[in-house]
Amino acid sequence: MSVFLQQLINGLSIGSIYALMAVGYSLVYSILNFSNFAHGGVIMLGAYFGLYALNLLSLPFMGALVVAAFAAGLVAVGLEKIAYSPLRKRNAPSLYFIISAMGASIFLENFVVATIGPTFKTYPEIFSTTPITFGAISVSRIDILMFVIAGISLAILVFIIEKTKVGLAIRACSYSARGSNLMGVNVNRIIFVIFLLGGMLAGVAGMLFGMKYTVYPQIGVITNKSFIAAVFGGLGSLPGAVVGSILLGLIETISAGYIASQYRDLIAFSLLIIVLVVKPSGLMGKITEDKA
């Protein structure tokens, strides 16, 4: 029984990291109907920013987190300006966006490899690594921290979207960009805000990931899993991204712990296909098919 509980905690822990990563990605998708594959690169940079904020600027933890979030947000905004905005202005087909995103992600990952180097770096020990134990079950302090920070970030995000004027504009844009434009919403500014928010979430996710595991240029590859989680939960739905991620984390853990660890990713992938077949918009997704 305790083993099962431990696995449950493992799954939740893995899932919460995916959740933070997936939400930023889903946020962009829900408004722009576009998969920002470069999101992984921004998360990776978030991890590095946090590390440098701690080491070079000697900031305390919260300070470094804020710095990482803003820096990553700026990168995301810059990315949008350089790689996506010109395409948007020309109404380019979505294929071009995907290709440009791919190019951006390759650029970011290899830029870090070429400049900082491929060896992994570790975060200094800010929080004690001794876990909290309940009998035979152990929960690491960083996990608890992550839950808290993830929860707070998501709460802030939901607050912005539901309760503020900017949030109202965002929601309007997600239904119809053109219509909102006609109503006086400055669509360009909204897109700026969305990428900033998405980027900040990525920064937080990256720093937490780096603290929990380690920092290296290929972190972006792990985020591919979070894309799968977002699709699983339903592209375009923020709660869906969270639910999908937690579920994916749990499924991965159960597969590894109870079925066969070497086939873990295969099982996750098969489940994705099954979900797409049974409910094509994912668990909680919105239908975004164009109707003429």
């Binding site: 083993v3 431990q6 696995q7 493992n10 799954g11 822990s13 893995i14 490899v113 491929p118 060896t119 992994f120 770096k121 570790t122 690594t129 876990p131 134990t133 035979a136 152990s138 690491s140 595991y213 380690t214 290296y216 290929q218 590859v221 792990i222 991965e252 853990t253 159960i254 597969s255 590894a256 712990g257 660890s261 070497q262 873990r264 990713d265």
Partner: protein
């Protein structure tokens, strides 16, 4: 206009890179057409080196190539080889990709016409280049490539142009299994391995064989995929099986992560690993977690034989060398001995001489067996990781040399 400019810029960028690459690209071309046994090109004797200078394995590859350069400088300063000829190194980066290794070796044997090749430091690459070596009659001495099929193929025949100076996976796994059973007297072992790594799979297979043959039982066998960062599902399962020792036959990054997570989960079993462990960052990241673990290594760093080389490397490059430094030093030594014995810088003659020389290197006395092209009778060194309270840091403490009859 702006669009055309941007595009033009992109094209110019790419082509200017091509031209700088062209003029600077390593290896002077010896004239003419390629193919057969290469080597002699005037006054210098050319040796090739391939390995990973970029990518995950870069720290090892870089160390290896720097060592070779350092050694060649030394040899040339002492008068060169074959009565006064200078040695010249041509080195290529394989990016840890077997495909690149094939390209690089093709270039080495036909363009640069080297008489022998040192490296690579990875089995997949060494396997991939066999065909090229065979058709060009140029030998390669692998430094830390441990897959047995590199030198002896599936039918039991030896590959005529592949050699190595390190032990093989069967040997490494057997040593680990044997040591765990005989010396540490463990009966229950668990294994966490990387399903996407040939090194990991091979190591594990032979560990199991030996450990079980000596009466032990494998209580858990869990896998992950390279690139994973969270091993707790697998470790939780391993913890439930209650092993005395856990084998972690993979590389330092995953070792650090999994060791830390294992301790976090409350696992107290001893950990054990192979030559993929030692690296600069391992202690920084996981020192506490791996304290007391055992590592099967090619040799021991504190062996007095080894120290002069270590100091020479530190003086020249300012960093402590990795295992590859010592392995390539010995590969280089064997090669030089073979060149001298062959009397000419011809790749076929060198190949024949390789099995006939005996070289006393820093990792032991090396003779390459005729039917296996592997070093004969070399023992592995078992090290334990301990915390040195005087120096305030972790270090490898030599336990003993251990060999099997493999």
């Amino acid at each position: 206009m702006k669009k055309k400019l941007t595009f033009l810029l992109a094209i110019i960028m790419i082509f200017s890179l091509a031209f700088t690459g062209c003029s600077g690209s390593g290896g002077d071309s010896g004239g003419g057409n390629g193919g057969d046994s290469g080597g002699d090109s005037g006054d210098t004797v050319k040796i090739g080196w391939i390995g990973s200078l970029t990518g995950d394995q870069a720290p090892w590859g870089k160390c290896e190539s720097q060592t070779v350069e350092m050694l060649i400088e030394q040899t040339n300063a002492n008068g060169g080889v074959l009565g006064g000829r200078m040695l010249e190194l041509v080195k290529y980066d394989t990016k840890n990709d077997p495909n690149e290794a094939v390209n690089a070796v093709k270039r080495l044997v036909s363009q640069d016409k080297v008489c022998a090749i040192l490296g690579p430091n990875a089995s997949a690459q060494a396997l991939a280049i066999t065909n090229v070596l065979n058709s060009a009659h140029v030998s390669d001495i692998a430094t830390v490539a441990t897959n047995p099929k590199i030198t002896v193929n599936d039918k039991g025949e030896v590959n005529p142009y592949n050699f190595r100076v390190c032990f093989t996976d069967p040997y490494q796994g057997a040593v680990a299994g044997g040591y765990a059973a005989d010396v540490l007297k463990y009966k229950k072992a668990a294994i966490l391995y990387d399903v996407a790594s040939d090194y990991s799979q091979g190591f594990m297979q032979y560990f199991i064989e030996t450990f079980e043959a000596k009466g032990g039982t494998i209580v858990a066998q869990e896998a992950f995929k390279a690139g994973d960062t969270d091993f707790r599902p697998q470790l939780t399962k391993i913890k439930e099986a209650d092993p005395e020792v856990i084998l972690m036959p993979y590389y330092y990054k995953e070792v650090a992560l999994s060791a830390n997570q294992a301790r976090e989960l409350g696992i107290t079993a001893t950990l054990m690993g192979g030559d993929g462990w030692p690296s600069d960052n391992l202690f920084e990241m996981a020192g506490k977690a791996i304290e007391g673990s055992y590592v099967v290594n090619h040799f021991d760093y504190n062996d007095p034989e080894v120290i002069p080389l270590t100091e020479m490397y530190i003086e020249k490059y300012g960093t402590t060398p990795e295992i590859n430094c010592y392995m390539v030093h010995d590969a280089y030594g064997v090669l030089l001995a073979a060149i001298e014995r062959a009397g000419i810088a011809d790749s076929q003659a060198i190949t024949d001489a390789l099995t006939q020389v005996e070289y006393k290197g820093v990792t032991g006395t090396i003779t390459l067996g005729e039917d296996t092209h592997d070093p004969v009778g070399k023992e592995a060194a078992i090290q334990q990781i301990k915390f040195n309270t005087e120096k305030g840091e972790y270090e490898y403490v030599f336990m003993q040399k251990y060999g099997t009859q493999e």
